[in-house]
C-alpha cells in the first residue's frame, strides 16, 4: 500500500478540482447559451413553442440530475456514437443548466413592467428589437444575482458526474479512499474543497442581491 500523507491527499484532490471547474464552466456557458435561446422562444409569439419550453423546464426540474446523466450516457450510445463520460456529463449538465437558467431569466423578464413592452411597441420596434433594446437590458440587472447563485448549484451538480465515471473532485476522492483507506480524511478534504469553491460565489451572489434591492 502506498503511504499517502494528508498533504498528498489534498494535493491530488486539488488537481482533480480542475476538472470540476472545467465541467462547471462548460455547463454554465453552454447552459447559458441554450437557456438564452430557449428564453427567446419562451417569450416569443408562438403558444405551442412556449408550451414546449415550459415542458422542457418541467422535465429537467422534475427529474433527478443523476437520471439525466445516465440517460445522456446511455442515450448517446444508442446513436452508435462511442460516448465518453466527458461528452455525456457535459451534455447532461448543459441541458440541466439551460432549463434552470431559462426559468430564472423568465422570472426576471416577467418582473419588467408590461408598459415597457408596450412603449417599445408603440415606437414600432419589432419583437427582437423590443427584447434587445428595452426589456433585456433592464432584466439583466435583476437577473445577475440569482444567476451567480445558480452557478453554485452547477458546481455541486458536477459532483454527480463522478457516478458515470467522470474523474473530478468527488471521483478522485473515491479513488484516493480506495487506495488509502482513509475515508474520513479524504471526504473531509473533498467537502472542504467544494466549500472553498462554492462559498465565495454564494457570498458574492448575496452581496449582489443586497445591492440590487
Amino acid at each position: 500500500m502506498v503511504d499517502f500523507s494528508v498533504w498528498d491527499i489534498f494535493r491530488n484532490l486539488l488537481l482533480a478540482a480542475r476538472w470540476t471547474l472545467a465541467l462547471s464552466l462548460i455547463a454554465f456557458v453552454g447552459g447559458g447559451l441554450v437557456g438564452l435561446a430557449l428564453l427567446v422562444v419562451r417569450l416569443g409569439p408562438s403558444t405551442w413553442a412556449q408550451r414546449a419550453v415550459a415542458g422542457y423546464v418541467q422535465l429537467f426540474q422534475g427529474t433527478p440530475l443523476l437520471m439525466q446523466l445516465f440517460l445522456a450516457y446511455f442515450g448517446i450510445a444508442l446513436f452508435g456514437i462511442n460516448t465518453s463520460p466527458w461528452v455525456a456529463a457535459a451534455l447532461a449538465l448543459t441541458l440541466y443548466t439551460s432549463a434552470f437558467l431559462t426559468e430564472i431569466w423568465r422570472g426576471c423578464v416577467a418582473a419588467i413592467p408590461r408598459g415597457q413592452w408596450e412603449a417599445a411597441q408603440s415606437l414600432a420596434l419589432n419583437f427582437g428589437e423590443q427584447l434587445r433594446h428595452v426589456v433585456l437590458p433592464q432584466a439583466v440587472k435583476i437577473a445577475i444575482p440569482p444567476t451567480v447563485g445558480f452557478l453554485v448549484q452547477v458546481i455541486k451538480g458536477t459532483a454527480l458526474a463522478s457516478v458515470i465515471g467522470f474523474i473530478e473532485l468527488t471521483k478522485a476522492g473515491t479513488m484516493i479512499t480506495n487506495a488509502t483507506f482513509k475515508p474520513f480524511v479524504v471526504y473531509s478534504c473533498v467537502a472542504l474543497l467544494y466549500f472553498a469553491l462554492c462559498y465565495p460565489i454564494s457570498h458574492y451572489a448575496r452581496i449582489l442581491e443586497r445591492r440590487t434591492r
Partner: protein
C-alpha cells in the same frame, strides 16, 4: 440506424420498481418530517437564539449548502465508520437527507420568521404568552404559510436528490433501475422508466404538499 426499444422487459420487473418507489417515498417522508422539524429549531436559533448558537447554526447551514449532497452522503456512509460510527445504507441515507434538507429549510423558514411584524410579537407578549408559546403559536404558523411554496420545492429537490442514495446500495428507485439494467442490459429504457416515475412522483408530491400544508401546519 435502427434502435429497437423494449420497455416491456423493464415493466415486467414491476415488483422491483414498486419496491424502489416505496423506498424513495419512505426516505423522502422520513427526512421531510425530521428535516423540517430540525429546521424549525434552526430557524428559531438563527433568529432568536443566543449568539453562540446563531453562529453554530450559521456555519452548519453554510457548510451544507455549499457542498454537494453526494459528498455529504459519502462522508456519512464511508467517513463516519472510520470514526467508529457504523451505519446501514438506509440509515446513512436518511441522516444525509435530513442534514441536507434541514440546512436549506432553516434558511427558508428563517426568512418567514423574520418577516413577522414586530407588533404581533408585542401583542402576544401583552397577553402574557411565554417565548416558546409566542414562537410556536404566533410567529411560526404565518411564517410557514409565507414560505410554504419554497419549502415544498426544497422537499422535492431532496426527493430527487435521493436518487444518489442508490450509490451506497439503498434500494430506492434509481437502485432498482440499475439492478434491472444489469440483468437485461436495457439501460436506456430502464432509466427512461425510472425518470418518468420520478417526474410523476415530483408532480404528485407537489400537489400533496400544497394540499396538506394549509390543513395541518397553518390555516388558510
Amino acid at each position: 440506424m435502427r434502435v429497437a426499444f423494449d420497455f416491456l422487459s423493464i415493466l415486467a420487473q414491476w415488483p422491483l420498481l414498486l419496491k424502489g418507489v416505496a423506498w424513495t417515498i419512505g426516505l423522502t417522508a422520513i427526512s421531510a418530517v425530521l428535516g423540517v422539524a430540525l429546521a424549525v429549531g434552526g430557524a428559531w436559533a438563527r433568529s432568536q437564539g443566543p449568539l453562540w448558537l446563531k453562529w453554530i447554526v450559521g456555519v452548519y447551514v453554510e457548510l451544507i449548502r455549499n457542498t454537494p449532497f453526494i459528498v455529504q452522503l459519502f462522508f456519512v456512509f464511508f467517513g463516519l465508520p472510520a470514526a467508529g460510527i457504523k451505519l446501514s445504507p438506509e440509515v446513512a441515507s436518511i441522516i444525509a437527507m435530513v442534514i441536507n434538507l434541514s440546512a436549506y429549510a432553516t434558511e427558508i423558514i428563517r426568512a418567514g420568521v423574520e418577516a413577522t411584524p414586530r407588533g404581533q410579537v408585542e401583542a402576544a407578549l401583552s397577553l402574557a404568552m411565554n417565548r416558546a408559546q409566542i414562537f410556536l403559536r404566533v410567529v411560526l404558523p404565518p411564517a410557514l404559510r409565507k414560505v410554504w411554496p419554497a419549502l415544498v420545492s426544497q422537499i422535492i429537490i431532496v426527493m430527487l436528490g435521493s436518487a444518489v442514495c442508490g450509490q451506497i446500495s439503498t434500494e430506492e428507485l434509481s437502485y432498482a433501475a440499475n439492478l434491472i439494467q444489469s440483468r437485461n442490459f436495457r439501460a436506456f429504457e430502464a432509466f427512461i422508466v425510472a425518470t418518468a416515475i420520478y417526474l410523476a412522483l415530483s408532480v404528485g408530491l407537489r400537489a400533496l404538499l400544497h394540499w396538506l400544508g394549509p390543513r395541518f401546519f397553518f390555516h388558510g
